[in-house]
């Protein structure tokens, strides 16, 4: 990537604070192979701002002014950096360099593949074995006498966007699997994603059937029948089509569509109405634009929120999850979920249903596993959706953003139910875009295997786990009522909030002042030390009042080898908060 850097260093650049009265700090701008770095001249602070190239969403150059040339860098985590470069030539060079650096053309240019971590083979291999998907299936009781593993997709023969290891109803024979696969978009036939041990009901996922106006497939019908039979307690199954009904009907003209209830025995079709990726992309853009409006009035803000449609879409996604979870847990009915290709809306709906149904997915490790299963393994097109490589902008869409936000909305309603805090969700989303780890590269398991990512990159999960002390929700307790059983959120519109922590992180006038969560975390850390001290004095209090959560050891914070901009920003924020206090 070094060859794309036209000028590695520019002095006397001004970093303009867009929120606080346009104050500017003077410093030096550096371009490295991976980061844009701004170092303040002020010898006392020498504050550094780091921006990862892969997190740059756009670089703009407004018309040159007498004071110099402006550069506006917008990042994929909704930050805006405005720079004033004295020489126009330098600005042109930086602009051109960044435009290229932020839009890699090959996977090999991405951070995780271009930066060779001090290769420690064992450590790297270990990082990839941190999560075990098969163990999670076993945790939910699969395989069993109803669901079995099938070798049908080994070497990705039947469906190249599915994982190689799949679970299907015991009665589904190989011809049924292959036949069903032929009747489904991209060969994505119905397979198990979650098994609910209490009711024996299951969640399966697939893509739309190639039904057109009249086509049918005996094998696909047998497959659905087999899924129903795999739940002894129920006479029918739900087929949840997460698309608006009109969209589903329009697909029939293209030879696709949805299940004809007359052809399938005992299915109940349910449309949910989550909009497609293009609608979602535009909607999020409006939210981002709204964040850049200078001093908006309350009316501007609420109108902008409404007209973006963002919360409406968030609600639709959560509604889908709630429908599925209720069907499984309350009615004991199995659900087959699909949209068009079954890798966007289907991933959202299935994973949210799992979060609602199973307390395990509300823990840090559980959520990691869930993303690994419903998103990574089932072929959510990460590289396309999150624009890892310079590609088709119409493929880009904030699909996983919406899932992450739904989890956040749930955590607002159930403050004790999740082991992790907001920071964890933000960091998780950040890494989906950052490409600092190999987990989210490519668009399917097969692509990742072909790239040999396990041999060439590290996995994100152990790193997050190592840093878990900063991601802990202090209110979480494994034995709390909110951590038991199913969550039943209220999805009335007024229960949804704008996620300020995600979209307005750098609003300086309102830093996250003293966050109660951080304060509680500090209190709990102190409590642990006190417990320790008491133990040393052999004067331990009866554990009656102690919280089980406090037994976790204090994690020493380990930093990434390179400081990232998130931390720099935090420092910045802390400083500005101090400023405010010192009025």
């Amino acid at each position: 990537m070094m060859e794309h850097i036209r000028t590695p260093k520019v002095e006397n650049v001004r970093l303009i604070d867009r929120t606080v009265s346009r104050k500017a700090t003077v410093g030096t701008l550096y371009l490295s192979a991976t980061h844009t770095i701004f170092v303040e001249n002020n010898p006392e602070t020498r504050k550094e701002t780091w921006v990862l190239h892969s997190l740059v969403a756009s670089v703009e150059r407004p018309p040159t002014t007498p004071s110099g040339s402006h550069l506006v860098i917008r990042t994929k985590n909704f930050q805006v950096l405005e720079l004033l470069v004295p020489q126009e030539r330098d600005a042109t060079d930086i602009h051109a360099s960044l435009a290229r650096l932020s839009r890699p053309e090959k996977y090999s240019e991405l951070y995780c593949l271009s930066i060779n971590p001090t290769a420690n083979k064992e450590e790297r291999e270990e990082s990839w074995s941190f999560l075990d998907l098969q163990a999670d299936y076993r945790r939910m009781g699969v395989p069993n006498n109803l669901w079995v593993g099938t070798p049908a997709n080994s070497e990705y023969r039947v469906c190249d966007t599915y994982p190689s290891e799949l679970f299907v109803p015991k009665s589904a024979t190989p011809p049924v699997i292959v036949g069903s696969s032929k009747f489904r978009s991209r060969g994505r036939f119905p397979v198990l994603t979650y098994f609910h041990q209490d009711t024996l009901a299951s969640i399966c996922r697939c893509s739309q059937p190639l039904s057109g106006f009249s086509a049918r497939s005996q094998e696909d019908e047998q497959m659905m029948q087999a899924i129903m039979k795999a739940n002894p307690g129920s006479e029918y199954i739900y087929v949840v089509d997460t698309r608006p009904k009109l969209n589903a009907m329009a697909n029939r003209a293209a030879g696709k569509g949805y299940e004809n209830e007359d052809h399938y025995t005992n299915i109940k079709l349910q449309f949910i109405g989550i909009e497609n990726i293009h609608v979602m992309r535009n909607s999020q853009q409006k939210i981002i634009d709204m964040g850049e409006v200078k001093t908006p009035s309350m009316g501007d803000f609420l109108w902008g929120l409404e007209s973006s449609g963002w919360l409406k879409h968030i609600k639709a996604v959560l509604d889908a999850g709630v429908f599925i979870a209720k069907a499984v847990a309350e009615e004991g009915v199995s659900v087959v979920v699909h949209c068009s290709d079954g890798w966007d809306r289907t991933a959202q709906a299935c994973s949210l249903a799992s979060v609602l149904l199973d307390p395990y997915y509300r823990t840090m490790k559980g959520l990691m596993l869930l993303i690994e299963r419903d998103w990574v393994s089932f072929g959510h097109k990460f590289s396309h959706r999150y624009n890892h490589l310079d590609g088709d902008p119409k493929e880009v869409s904030p699909v996983i953003d919406q899932f992450v936000e739904c989890v956040w909305q749930l955590s607002e309603q159930f403050p004790c139910a999740f082991e992790f805090n907001e920071r964890f969700l933000i960091q998780l989303r950040r890494h989906v875009y950052s490409c600092q780890y190999g987990n989210f590269l490519g668009n399917s398991q097969k692509e990742r295997r072909d790239m040999r990512l396990r041999e060439r990159t590290y996995s994100l999960w152990p790193q997050l786990w190592k840093d878990r002390a900063q991601y802990v929700n202090p209110l979480y307790r494994a034995d709390h009522t909110q951590t038991q059983g199913m969550l039943r959120p209220n999805t009335t519109p007024y229960c949804f909030k704008m996620w300020k922590g995600m979209y307005n992180r750098l609003e300086k006038s309102a830093p996250p002042r003293h966050s109660p969560a951080d304060l509680l975390t500090a209190v709990r850390e102190e409590t642990q030390q006190l417990e320790q001290e008491l133990t040393n004095h052999q004067e331990v209090a009866p554990r009656g009042t102690a919280h089980s959560g406090t037994k976790q050891g204090i994690q020493t914070r380990s930093q990434d080898s390179s400081p990232d901009e998130e931390e720099a920003d935090e420092q910045q924020q802390r400083r500005s908060e101090d400023d405010e206090r010192n009025v």
Partner: protein
Amino acid sequence: MEFAELIKTPRVDGVVLRRPFQPTVEGTLCLTGHHLILSSRQDNTEELWLLHANIDCIEKRFVGTLGTIIVKCKDLRVIQLDIPGMEECLNIASSIEALSTLDSVSLMYPFFYRPMFEVIEDGWNSFLPEDSFKDLESMTDEWRLSDVNQDYCVCASYPPLVAVPKDVDDDTLRKAAAFRHAGRFPVLSYYHKKNGMVMMRSGQPLTGTNGRRCKEDEKLINATLRAGKRGYIIDTRTIAVAQQAKARGGGFESEANYPQWRRIHKAIERSSVLQESLIKLVEACNDQSHNMDRWLSKLEASNWQTHVKEILTTACLAAQCIDREGASVLVHGTEGTDSTLQVTSLAQIILDPTCRTIRGFQALVEREWLQAGHPFQQRCVQSAYGNGSSVKVRCEAPVFLLFLDCVWQILRQFPCSFQFSEHFLVLLFEHAYASQFGTFLGNSAAERAKLKLSQKTVSLWSWVNRPQEAQRLSNPLYEANSLVIWPSVAPQSLLLWEGVFLRWNRSSRCLDEAYEEMVHIIEYNKELQNKVNSLRRQLAELETDDPLQHTE
């Protein structure tokens, strides 16, 4: 008058009570002079005790002989009573209507209420003007306590004692009062210890269309300025509204006559607009059938959040003038009893850490709202369900509620800087509208004196300041913060106050549990701290007693 005359049917059996998110209760409905009571015959089922004064309006419906009364309360809750028998239902409804709209203040519950608790400290004496003036005297000798309004003749809505500049005599005050709306001449609202700057408040000057002036008024407010210093006049109205006020005899301070003052106009709406806004907001919150677009557009159309933002912005401006510009400030709108008090009291929350304590906040409400003559009784006669069909001039308005909402916004942004929790704010909202205590009765100090409230009723503060109550209202995260706190007024930083507006529209169980969990974590920590500290003490004692130490 006997309440019994108004109660045609004192008791009905087989009444069914329906409330959202709570189980249905069947029982006997009883009407007393001040309460609507529903008691089930099972021991464990919660009963309903509703103060008639809390009822904002009722609606009746009939299906055959089964009548239904929908009771809409001033605390925004809506409950449904199914009453068998048409006559019973009609009787109950008309009794509730009569009892909830009693004209005479002296028939209100506070005059009948006898406390079931021991009054340790009489709240009526907790916040006397003399006492707060003693605090002022300890900081400055530039002010004096004037009794010019002793018989409420100079200003009917002012208390008998007010703090004014030392060098201004009572005669000047009387003349200035004649020049200000309803006699509300400029008085001290707040003294900023840090730099000696002050905040005053008043009614609008009565300049009228021909630009009348009053030397005494000018002298009075100029007396608060240090030599060569300029002050700010914050007029809570837009310049257009202030101009219009001239036609009705009001107006604003002209540059020519007040050359040492810079006037700034803000845009806090009049109380009738605020009332309409509350009605729209509550309507939007109560309709669960809205889709997202409709909800957001209704929320926007209510303008409630806009009012919150405008009031907070104005308060920040006043605080900024004082703390950052080092200038004194005079705040007024038209009457000086509504938006003016919102601004002066919020500015004090921002500037003065004392106001963020439980007692300090009571003192603030006492000083800046009750003593300052906010017409509580008029403003709180109806809440969000008032249909406005009453013949009286409409004067209800959620002025105090908006103030509490703004405090909640600051509290939410600075969760550790307040000694009290949200519960305290909700409690004040409830009691301002309906209460067993006399604190919020009447419209001014004069009215309260005439009603002899301090002899005949119990003060809310007597109850709140009992240790167990103060404990319940306290904020477990509190850490005294002596600094000025600047809230963000960006739209995305201001949220809908769920604790009031969605209180009855969703289950709060999970949020309550989280709160308990938080309390638990902090209490357990304190418990351990105490244990460790006592151990450390014991260790230290052992070490000093250790004879070996002496030999070393």
